[in-house]
């Protein structure tokens, strides 16, 4: 067990490789109850969400979800989040465990400064969150719910009962695989967990820890806030321009992000691959003629692709696909190459 965002969590159950492969080929089950939930409701909820987050929340229908970020006035990350539209004037943010308090204080302070009729509640203790991920996830979960899962599209949610427990069922995840995240009351979480493990037995479902969660998300080149980006990294630098609602009115950090999009960008997060037998881990320097010019933000040997991969923040002139990078690994310079994202894309993804 390791301490993570104030929670004691298992790094692995049966082994990172076995858990990782279970998710890619069958199904894996994750207890991600450490994730936080902050709700915003009231007549001005949309206006406040539009001001606080960089994506265009006006595009969301009720029942729809988007990946977004809480941004500072400098266009950097307070946190990366999922925005759920629960009702016409009610939004739910799913935030990172270590940032719950910080995010809540930030949202309250910024909403107050902006003004508007909106109630903001840290509802994290009301939700346990269980993720079932993998190509068999729908089939397994369907045996425990009357909700029609086939009709729930990627990044949409529905409500219903799972193992007779009221739940919000969201077709989302942090693995690059199809799957669901199920929000349930904490008191019933164990029952839902056990029911899913039981229902998944025929598919050899595996409980998965933080280790596989990290290798899976990185293989899908999904960012980890706090590791790949933080309050000093802008959304554009993080390679996440696609989560900026460029057409919407102003929002926190809009000016900086627009200038960077127009070309005023000095560095960028890129995906790299190492062909040598070595892993570049978080914090290892990227060098050019013996000078440190960048840094590895995530790196691993991926169990499914069986490649040494990672993300690094580098000067823009080193950010093009095919560019050779030199990464210093414990005193040795190891060659890497910038590659297109994502490393892994699931078969048949729309």
């Amino acid at each position: 067990m390791v301490e993570f965002g104030g929670w004691d969590m298992p790094v692995e159950y049966s082994g990172i490789t076995e858990e990782h492969l279970a998710v890619r080929t069958r199904a894996g089950l994750f207890d991600v109850s450490h994730m936080g939930q902050i709700e915003l409701a009231g007549p001005d909820a949309l206006a406040v969400v539009q001001w606080l987050t960089c994506n265009d929340a006006a595009k969301l229908s009720v029942g729809q979800i988007q990946y977004s970020a809480l941004t500072t006035a400098e266009g950097t990350f307070v946190d990366d989040i999922l925005v759920y539209r629960m009702a016409s004037d009610h939004y739910l943010f799913v935030v990172n465990a270590g940032n719950i308090m910080k995010d809540h204080e930030w949202i309250v302070a910024q909403a107050r400064a902006r003004g508007g009729d909106v109630a903001i509640v840290n509802a994290s203790s009301r939700y346990a969150l269980i993720a079932i991920q993998g190509p068999r996830a729908e089939e397994i979960l369907q045996t425990l719910t009357a909700a029609d899962l086939a009709s729930v599209k990627y990044y949409w949610f529905t409500t219903g009962e799972v193992a007779s427990v009221r739940a919000t069922i969201s077709r989302t995840g942090y693995t690059g695989e199809d799957g669901f995240e199920v929000f349930v009351p904490p008191a019933q979480a164990e029952r839902v967990w056990d029911a899913l493990l039981q229902a998944g037995k025929a598919h050899d479902i595996k409980p998965c820890g933080l280790g596989a969660r990290d290798t899976l998300r990185l293989e899908a080149s999904m960012r980890l806030c706090g590791s790949d980006m933080d309050e000093h990294t802008t959304v554009v630098e993080a390679g996440l321009s696609w989560i900026v609602g460029w057409k919407k009115d102003t929002f926190l950090g809009a000016d900086v992000l627009r200038r960077q999009k127009a070309g005023e960008l000095s560095r960028k997060l890129v995906a790299f691959e190492i062909r040598d037998r070595a892993i570049a881990r978080h914090g290892y320097p990227v060098v050019r003629s013996e000078e440190t010019v960048g840094v590895v933000t995530s790196g691993t040997q991926t169990p499914f692709l069986k490649k040494s991969i990672g993300l690094a923040m580098v000067p823009v002139d080193l950010a093009g696909t095919g560019t050779k990078l030199d990464i210093q690994i414990r005193g040795r310079v190891v060659p890497a190459e910038v590659v297109p994202e994502p490393f892994y894309k699931r078969p048949g993804k729309q």
Partner: protein, 123 residues
Amino acid sequence: MYPSELKYTQDHEWLKVDDQGATVGITDFAQRQLGDVVFVELPDVGRQLKQGEAFGTIESVKAVSELFAPVSGEVLAVNPDLGSHPEAVNARPHEAWMIRMKPSNPAELSGLLDASAYTALVK
């Protein structure tokens, strides 16, 4: 669990002494802490090691860790199979050896832990 014919170190290496020299690997406790091993980096044959000196690295998906010489001596051989099958360290930790050495100071051997002392250490 921990074979009685092996000697052990506080750094979780094992050493097996025979007529021709000594074989070195990491213990079952060490491989369980590391998780799935993906690379093992080993020294050149002929290198002279001092007791406690780092002679290589072992890398798992989770972490990277140094390998330490249980005793002083020359490296006689490295296990050629670990390059293509590093997972053998997880599957058979007390057989998947890393280096063979020629111990240069027999007195160091008596300072190593026996199986029962090592079992107590990792309890």
